[in-house]
């Protein structure tokens, strides 16, 4: 029986406006680095799981096999996942399952998206169609609008402030400035964050993640191979997944993401690890309110106290639970399919002690939290050394 599944290789492409590449070259960049990191050859891989969220962004129907073949995996099994913004974590979870089921010893997981070529207006249109196209899209509801309504509901229920939202952005830009793979590597001031242009009231430009191109790749292996190949395998021990209503209007509350709560509970239960034991976390900050709700829904603080959590700098390195030490979606960028895989890479780096200036000293337990759409999908993963 397969005991554990380990992460033995990680490779990150530079996120950003990457019109110097298309999907194939961008994924090659990530995969080559993951194979080099694992010190293995593509021939050693048994199967791949490719996460690409949208054919429209890829400008390619059936993008997975394109990537699979381009990196030299011809004739081997290939699977594709789609879970909107959580596509990458769905790929990780599918890859883990292949190894755990003993269908493969070593699996290559790739997440990628090429978005910037469409421009902001068209990209907003494509993503808006991830909302219910019969009953919510026809009113001009956009993804920022869904999170804006959550922000308004949270502010109204718990007194969360406009300033606290901006504080999340300031933190994530600070860490993003230390991440060479981040889309935007610059710090911002609270004043700049507060007065940026309104996207969807009450969310402004600096509350919103970036539209980016990017790819990320990890190599997963069973315990035997992982120990043989790697000196520092990181174990993916707890996996939680959940979903929620397609229509936002059907949710009983918009001050939390129920799918996060369910997925987190499953991941914690699988490992016996509790929220207080998490040394470092990456959470889905597609909008700043998303990070504040994640603090609460993942159990880092009590419900309603997410605003206070950032205000007291509890999510900074040195605080109670350091969050988004890679800059988060806010600063690193959010190429949909790549995001979840990139999250796994940051936690792996942190647990290996390879995160450089943004290292959380002595981190032993990490968590990643990846949300698809406006909480329709959620994946929570717990990792340990």
């Amino acid at each position: 029986m397969i005991q554990k599944v380990g992460i033995i290789g990680i490779g990150h492409a530079k996120f950003g406006k990457r019109t110097d590449t298309t999907l194939r070259e961008l994924t090659y960049e990530a995969v080559t680095r993951a194979l080099e990191d694992a010190e293995i050859n593509v021939k050693d891989i048994d199967a791949s799981v490719i996460g690409v969220a949208s054919e429209e962004f890829a400008a390619q129907v059936s993008p997975a096999v394109l990537v699979h073949d381009y990196v030299g995996m011809r004739n081997k099994p290939v699977f594709r996942t789609e879970a909107a913004c959580a596509t990458g974590s769905a790929a990780i979870q599918a890859g883990w399952s292949l190894v755990k089921a003993d269908l493969a010893d070593i699996v290559l997981v790739v997440g990628a998206e090429t978005m910037t070529h469409l421009g902001t207006s068209k990209t907003t249109e494509v993503i808006a169609r991830a909302g219910d196209t019969r009953w919510e899209y026809p009113f001009g509801a956009t993804f920022p609008s869904f999170y804006a309504m959550m922000a308004k509901a949270h502010m109204n229920a718990y007194g969360t402030t406009r300033e606290q939202l901006s504080m999340v952005s300031v933190k994530n830009h600070m860490y993003g400035a230390l991440n060479p793979y981040a889309h935007i590597q610059k710090t911002i001031t609270l004043k700049e964050a507060m007065k940026s242009s309104m996207i969807c009231y009450p969310l402004n430009l600096y509350d919103c993640c970036l539209i980016s191109d990017g790819a990320a790749s990890v190599v997963l292996a069973n315990e035997e191979k992982a120990k043989k190949i790697s000196d520092t395998p990181i174990w993916l021990k707890g996996l939680g997944a959940a979903s929620d209503t397609m229509m936002i209007s059907e949710r009983e509350t918009l001050t939390e993401l129920r799918a996060t709560r369910i997925a987190a509970e499953k991941a914690y239960r699988m490992t016996g690890i509790v929220a207080e034991e998490v040394d470092v976390a990456v959470v889905h900050d597609c909008f700043t309110i998303g990070e504040i709700m994640a603090y609460e829904d993942l159990g880092f603080c009590k419900k309603g106290e997410g605003g206070k959590f950032i205000e007291e700098k509890q999510s900074y390195i040195g605080g109670k639970t350091p969050v988004n030490t890679d800059g988060g979606l806010k600063s690193k960028g959010h190429p949909l399919g790549a995001t979840g895989v990139s999250m796994t890479i940051e936690i792996t780096k942190q647990l290996r002690g390879e995160a450089g200036k943004r290292q959380v000293n002595g981190a032993e337990i990490g968590l990643s939290h990846n949300v698809g759409q406006a909480g329709q999908y959620c994946f929570v993963h717990v990792y340990s050394r």
Binding site: T124, E125, G140, A141, S145, M149, M150, L254
Partner: protein, 133 residues
């Protein structure tokens, strides 16, 4: 007649019936004859698996649960921006998402009383929307 400011789906029997009623100022939901669950907007099937549904007239008054103003619209909605989108809890506790008109953003409050009205958009489109009472 098509439903929505924009639409990308065919006009099924369900939406045609819904639109016909909306034209006459009636907001119609569906109720499962097996388990009694109600749906607004309507569905042709219940989440319990049943296809036995009946129509019912939903209340048209409620309170704002939350709202936003869309400043950066999708490409297809650019001529309407900025516009307010809200989720309203109706008197029977069902919740509905639509645009909200007839009120300035800075005077809006969560909990404000609104009504659901139908609105024609040109010759061939119709929506429901919220308006302060």
């Amino acid at each position: 007649m098509k439903f929505g400011y924009v639409s990308c789906l065919p006009e099924t029997q369900l939406i045609t019936r819904f639109v016909e009623e909306l034209k006459n100022g009636r907001l119609m939901g569906t109720r499962c004859e097996k388990c009694g669950t109600t749906y607004l907007p309507p569905r042709a099937h219940c989440k319990c698996g049943s296809a036995d549904i009946e129509w019912y007239e939903a209340p048209r008054r409620g309170k704002i649960s939350t709202y936003t103003s869309v400043g950066v619209p999708p490409e297809s909605m650019s001529k309407y921006a900025p516009y307010i989108v809200a989720v309203v809890e109706l008197e029977d506790k069902t919740r509905l998402l639509a645009q909200l008109t007839g009120v300035a953003l800075n005077t809006l409050r969560v909990g404000m009383l609104v009504q659901v009205i139908s609105r024609r958009l040109g010759a061939d489109r119709i929506v429901y929307e919220f308006k302060p009472v």
